[in-house]
Symmetry: C2
Subunit: 301 residues, 2 copies
């Protein structure tokens, strides 16, 4: 999995602090998660091939997570996109976008589908043969969901040296990866377990922003490889978390520890902090594998 951070700051955009947007690549699938103002410019700045995008997931309808969506959709029109585009997000997102398309007389020469969410329990949002995406109900001032991306178990791993030993033609390789035995010309059956090893473990990514501290969320996140959890504040302003329904870096780390994730990425920083070091220090006291999101930074796992 490859995650490009396009923006990771809260509230009002500034020249060097962009609002939330992430580009996620999984096995030749390309997803945009949230779309604050200026996201299309960030996609260009970091040379992301966004024409490949088919699915956009919006966590909630606060401006710093969605105000860039109409511009991106409109630009796809100007760029003569033809491929379909799916937007997943809270109930209301269809009206938000279509009202603007209509009033600005913007044409979309491609099929545009909206998939609106209104459940308060996790649900399957997207599925194909390679992966699933589930919603993660969040606790914010407005209806909000995170998203959990999971690869499905892939084909078994072909043991090339074994296949060559039995002189098996390459045209059988796909069948072998799907678990089939091979019958040689002399009638000998080679059982699949002699030709393959187990598939690589499926990878996963969870995006959680914006949310108050919800320890029970850890059950759904159990064992994910990488968790992005917002940390708008540090403990010095834990009082603000209660009012604004955000989390501290320490709280994010507690979720990571309880869920036993592989790695925690912090983000959605309040502009009141001039440097980011304090977020990492605070989280590391609770959970070791902590990284800081920064605009333009790429994470791979």
């Amino acid at each position: 999995m490859k995650l490009t951070i396009l923006g990771c700051y809260s509230a009002t955009p500034r020249a060097k602090a962009h609002p939330t947007a992430q580009f996620l690549e999984i096995r030749n699938h390309h997803f945009l998660i949230d779309c604050g103002e200026g996201t299309q410019t960030q996609l260009r700045r970091y040379h992301v091939k966004f024409s490949r995008l088919r699915h956009i997931f919006i966590s909630h309808l606060h401006g710093d997570h969605v105000f860039g969506l109409i511009g991106l959709i409109s630009s796809f029109g100007l760029l003569h996109r033809e491929k379909e585009l799916h937007v997943h997000g809270p109930k209301g997102i269809k009206k938000l976008i279509t009202t603007q398309l209509k009033l600005t007389k913007s044409w979309t020469p491609f099929p545009l589908y909206f998939h609106e969410l209104d459940q308060k329990t996790p649900e399957l949002v997207f599925e194909n043969d390679k992966l699933t995406v589930e919603s993660i109900p969040l606790d914010h001032r407005i209806y909000a969901n995170g998203y959990l991306f999971r690869e499905k178990e892939g084909p078994r791993k072909l043991l090339i040296d074994q296949a060559e030993k039995y002189k098996i033609d390459v045209s059988f390789y796909n069948a072998i990866k799907q678990g089939k035995d091979v019958v040689l010309d002399d009638g000998t059956r080679i059982p699949n377990h002699k030709l393959t090893g187990p598939p690589p473990p499926p990878k996963s990514y969870a995006f959680c922003s914006d949310t108050a501290y919800q320890p029970e969320m850890a059950d759904q996140l159990s064992g994910v490889d990488c968790l992005y959890h917002e940390s708008t504040f540090q403990q010095d302003r834990a009082d603000l978390c209660e009012v604004t329904k955000h989390s501290t870096a320490e709280q994010a780390a507690k979720i990571a520890r309880r869920a036993g994730v592989g790695k925690l990425i912090l983000g959605h920083y309040s502009s009141r902090y001039k440097t980011l070091d304090g977020f990492k220090t605070e989280a590391k006291a609770v959970f070791e594998q902590v990284e800081l999101a920064e605009d333009g930074k790429i994470f791979k796992w």
Copy 2:
């Protein structure tokens, strides 16, 4: 007058080519003209004191002129603005913004007024004791207006040396500037024309984007000090102007020449041109006083 170009490129925003937005300062009044995506970031980048803004003028509802407006209004809310804000623009702009404010649950703790335009002849859009703003009907694919900003004639200019010669107390100075005579203690009347000179000539600025070539527009623009006229294309692609209802640099210069303006500023460049020199060369062949808009450039007159 002081004009800061925040963005002067057409269509889709790029990292170094921002869509239309301008900040105009006239005698302690602050106006924003158009508001493409990313305008609030541009205001910060160029250190424009945008809290002083009271009036925003939107030419038309294409995205590259208006998609940044909701973000700016929303940020004013987050910044606890209290002063009233007036948005002038085509019919539909109120619905465009209020639908988004409602769906994103954004509070505006300040009075927000919309003034919608739907006339096809010039009308007075704003007036106070210092200046007027008129609409300039444009010919585009969607209902559009430019705006003509005119200072009113100011007070007469006090001739300090004359006032001192007659030993007139400074408390009379304001009355003198308003055209009053002064009666000295000995009963002598000093007529106003001995104490004042004519006021400085009022200045003016016309913003015209987006529009097809409309020669007759020059009548309304006659004698303005500074004209911004779009030049999306050069003559090599005049064919595209007809389809898209835009202008070439040469056409913009013809308007400037016919109207006898002081200075022409070109902008709204298509991204198909890699450098801007060609726009200036083409316009200068028709009209001498040509300048190129560039993001961040400041013009004063």
